[in-house]
């Protein structure tokens, strides 16, 4: 594990070098200039994974180092020709195997760049073997993100060699005696702070802290304002279509907004609610085709692998079809986002949310404490979930399960909006239980939608010409597989719902959300 020290002003590399040389056998490597770029996803997945990814251009290659920010753990290194945009662009191997689950579908973006002059001293033993490294870095921040170039700490880094602890300990003692102080944070964090970037600052989660006594209309505005913030944070990425997660988070914020407008009743005038419900429904519609295609492309490898090896290649034309159509749909989406209607919606919506609430509102729920409204709404929707679920039997049509899925989603959103009003562990546990049920219902619905869409795609591909019978056959096999899985999801439902509706769990919901006068399940 590397040990970093900050070099105070006035201490020069040459001074350190000449002192070390007096007592040690040293090999000095030629000084080098290095431009290092630190990468992370838009939502800081690497940082939140306690790691950083450093890329250094070395001739025609990129040297990637992925290392822990704190604590022990080995660095991983990879030489690669082009800087990968996604984990899937990396060559097969350990680096990719470990990075893929962290980064998933997210694109790597440059977060900060550092320019360093590095001097490396190798401490040698009697066999001329390197037993420790001392790297001295003179660091600067080049111009970036409209920020002027600046200075960063100069650092001395001891890199131990496995099996040779002694020389490393001696170097530590020497640096401390020379007035150097151990660095508390990695240089990347210092660089990010200097350019005003806060790592881990983005989250699509609501992370609100509501006051239980707050008026319900005011609290609803707080929730909706946070959702607008998430939408706007993802707007640029949605336009460029760099990675599918921007559009995903953008759409989730829209869906939550619509749900809040519908579910938190009688807090805003009906006319206002209806107007924005229509507008956000329109936003749902314009973003839908792009997302559908994204889902197919994200799952494409999984689809292909589910087919017998002999026909896997036959499905490839579908991928080309999806990519082609994704571009067309993205253009249409960008056009809609550039429209006057969208701009007007965002402006008016923001104005509305930032306006103070009408203190003299006569609407039933507007002036009530948010906690009362929250309990009432959650309890009512929860009871609906139980009612609808209990009514489902082996003969029930698929539509009944879809209806239940929608009700569960409403419940989930309400619980997340008002999460901060309840004891954290208890509500988290109930959300977890609901999530397990939702996963099953979601699978059931997703398989059905995928089957329908695949059928539509196959018709579209025929209409566009140049689709081989082999491809259509492979798509048919895919549809068969999806139908089988949907059937399986249906079979699992009974058990999942029985778990969710256990009387013990009903008791937990009742305790948290039902007031004494409320009707029981």
């Amino acid at each position: 594990m590397r040990i970093e020290f900050i070099i105070p002003e006035g201490v020069r590399f040459e001074d350190l070098q000449s002192t070390i040389q007096k007592n040690n056998r040293i090999l000095t490597e030629p000084s080098r200039m290095a431009d290092r770029t630190y990468y992370d996803s838009f939502d800081w997945r690497l940082y939140l994974n306690n790691s950083l990814l450093e890329g250094t251009r070395d001739g025609s290659e990129n040297l990637l180092v992925w290392r822990p920010l704190k604590g022990k753990g080995r660095d991983l290194r990879l030489r690669t020709g082009r800087m990968p945009r996604f984990a899937r662009d990396l060559p097969a191997g350990q680096f990719r195997d470990l990075l893929e689950p962290v980064l998933e579908m997210r694109e790597l973006a440059s977060r900060v760049r550092i320019r360093s002059r590095t001097h490396t001293l190798r401490v040698l033993n009697r066999d001329e073997k390197t037993v420790a490294y001392l790297v001295v870095e003179e660091n600067t921040l080049p111009r970036q993100q409209g920020k002027r170039p600046g200075k960063l700490d100069d650092r001395a880094i001891i890199i131990p060699v496995k099996g040779y602890p002694k020389p490393c300990n001696e170097l530590v003692k020497f640096l401390q005696a020379s007035g150097l102080t151990p660095a508390q944070h990695d240089l990347m964090l210092a660089a990010l702070a200097t350019i005003g970037e806060i790592p881990g600052s983005y989250s699509s989660k609501l992370n609100l802290k509501l006051d239980p006594a707050m008026r319900a209309d005011r609290a609803t505005k707080v929730i909706l304002h946070r959702l607008l913030e998430v939408m706007l944070q993802n707007e640029d990425g949605t336009r460029t279509g760099t990675d599918s997660e921007f559009l995903h988070d953008f759409r989730v914020a829209i869906r939550r907004t619509r749900s809040a407008l519908t579910q938190i009743k009688e807090v805003f005038p009906k006319q206002t609610t209806e107007r924005y419900k229509t507008e956000f429904a329109w936003m749902g519609t314009i973003t839908s085709p792009s997302r559908d295609l994204d889902v197919y492309l994200l799952n494409f490898d999984k689809y292909r692998d589910s087919l017998p090896a002999a026909v896997q290649a036959d499905i490839e034309p579908l991928r080309e079809f999806l990519i082609r159509h994704q571009k067309i749909e993205l253009r249409a989406l960008v056009k809609a986002l550039n429209s006057a209607r969208y701009r007007r919606l965002i402006k008016n919506w923001r104005d509305f949310l930032e306006q103070p609430v009408n203190e003299r509102s006569t609407l039933k729920n507007s002036w009530r404490p948010v906690t009362e409204v929250a309990c009432e709404r959650i309890w009512r929707i929860y009871r609906r979930v139980i009612r609808e679920g209990n009514a489902i039997n082996a003969e029930s049509p698929a539509d009944d399960l879809h209806e239940l899925r929608k009700t569960c989603k409403k419940l989930r959103y309400l619980m997340e909006f008002f999460q901060s009003l309840y004891p954290a562990t208890r509500i988290r546990e109930l959300i977890r239980k609901l999530k397990t049920l939702q996963e099953n219902l979601g699978d059931f619905q997703d398989y059905e939608v995928q089957v329908t869409t695949l059928k539509t795609f196959s018709h579209q591909m025929v209409a566009e010409g140049e689709v081989s019978p082999d491809t259509l056959l492979a798509m048919g096999m895919l549809i068969d597989g999806l139908e089988r899985r949907q059937h399986q999801a249906r079979k699992t439902f009974t058990g999942r719902f029985a778990d969710f509706s256990l009387s013990k769990n009903q008791g937990h919901f009742r305790k948290l959300f039902a007031s004494s006068g409320e009707p029981q399940v």
Binding site: L76, L78, R79, Q94, K129, G163, Y164
Partner: protein, 250 residues
């Protein structure tokens, strides 16, 4: 973790040079790599300037009384570590015999490093013994450097026979021609018209090159002091081929 052994019953065929140069190439790509010098002569340890000594000797190591990790040394190259040789390895067969499941011992010792190293190279002593059986068991591939002479080809046949007799998977064996001297007619004819019974014969052959001998005076892999030499280029090609084989068998 992929375990690659360099093995031959014969000595002086380029086992250590192969293990050292391939391990160096693997580490240069950024893959955490370990080379285990199992030969009591300790040539690989010498090349990497590491003292060929294991505290307590091979006996203690096999008994597992101390963590194997304590014996591992970092080399001068990033991502390349070495488990040094010890002269007591000459008695390794004795220690192995005393253990439970004597053929699985190496496999057992390497298991904890599953997530630590991506590649483990085993530089094996020239013999056919219990140590070799352990190596065949632990390795995913066994590289067999073979000098293109009649006797060497005969030795290779013996190794294959041993595999068959002991119900080992012969597809693990990856022979390649080593120390090929193009001035010798016999070498040329064997390399150009390789015997049909050498299954999995790798296409790359390593030429006879004085640079390989100079590894001893430089105490470093070829890529460090003669990166443009013909043999260094050939080891690069060999490594590419070995990697393809490894991914094929995954």
């Amino acid at each position: 973790m992929k375990v690659i052994a360099t093995y031959n019953i014969k000595g002086g065929v380029g086992k250590t040079a192969t293990a050292v140069n391939l391990a160096w190439l693997a580490a240069r790509e950024g893959a955490p790599t370990l080379i285990w010098d199992l030969d009591p002569q300790g040539a690989a340890s010498y090349y990497f300037r590491v003292k060929p000594r294991i505290k307590g000797g091979g006996k203690r190591l096999i008994e597992g009384k101390r963590d194997l990790d304590d014996f591992i040394r970092g080399t001068d190259f990033e991502w390349l570590d070495l488990l040094p040789a010890d002269f007591s390895y000459r008695n390794m067969d004795l220690y192995l015999e005393q253990a439970k499941k004597p053929v699985r011992q190496l496999h057992k010792l390497l298991k904890p490093f599953k997530h630590e190293y991506y590649y483990v190279f085993l530089d094996c002593p020239p013999s056919i013994s219990l140590v070799s059986e352990n190596i065949f068991d632990a390795a995913s591939s066994v590289l067999v450097p073979t000098i293109p002479t009649t006797l060497s080809l005969r030795t290779y046949k013996q190794i294959r026979k041993f595999f068959r007799q002991n119900r080992l998977d012969p597809s693990k064996l990856l022979p390649f021609f080593s120390m090929v001297d193009r001035r010798k007619q016999l070498h040329c004819s064997i390399v150009d018209d390789s015997p049909t019974d050498m299954q999995n014969l790798l296409e790359t052959s390593i030429p006879y090159d004085s640079n390989v001998e100079r590894m001893g005076s430089h105490r470093a892999p070829l890529g460090e002091f003669a990166p443009n030499s013909r043999s260094a280029r050939c080891y690069e090609a060999l490594w590419e081929e070995v990697k393809q084989h490894l991914s094929h068998w995954e």
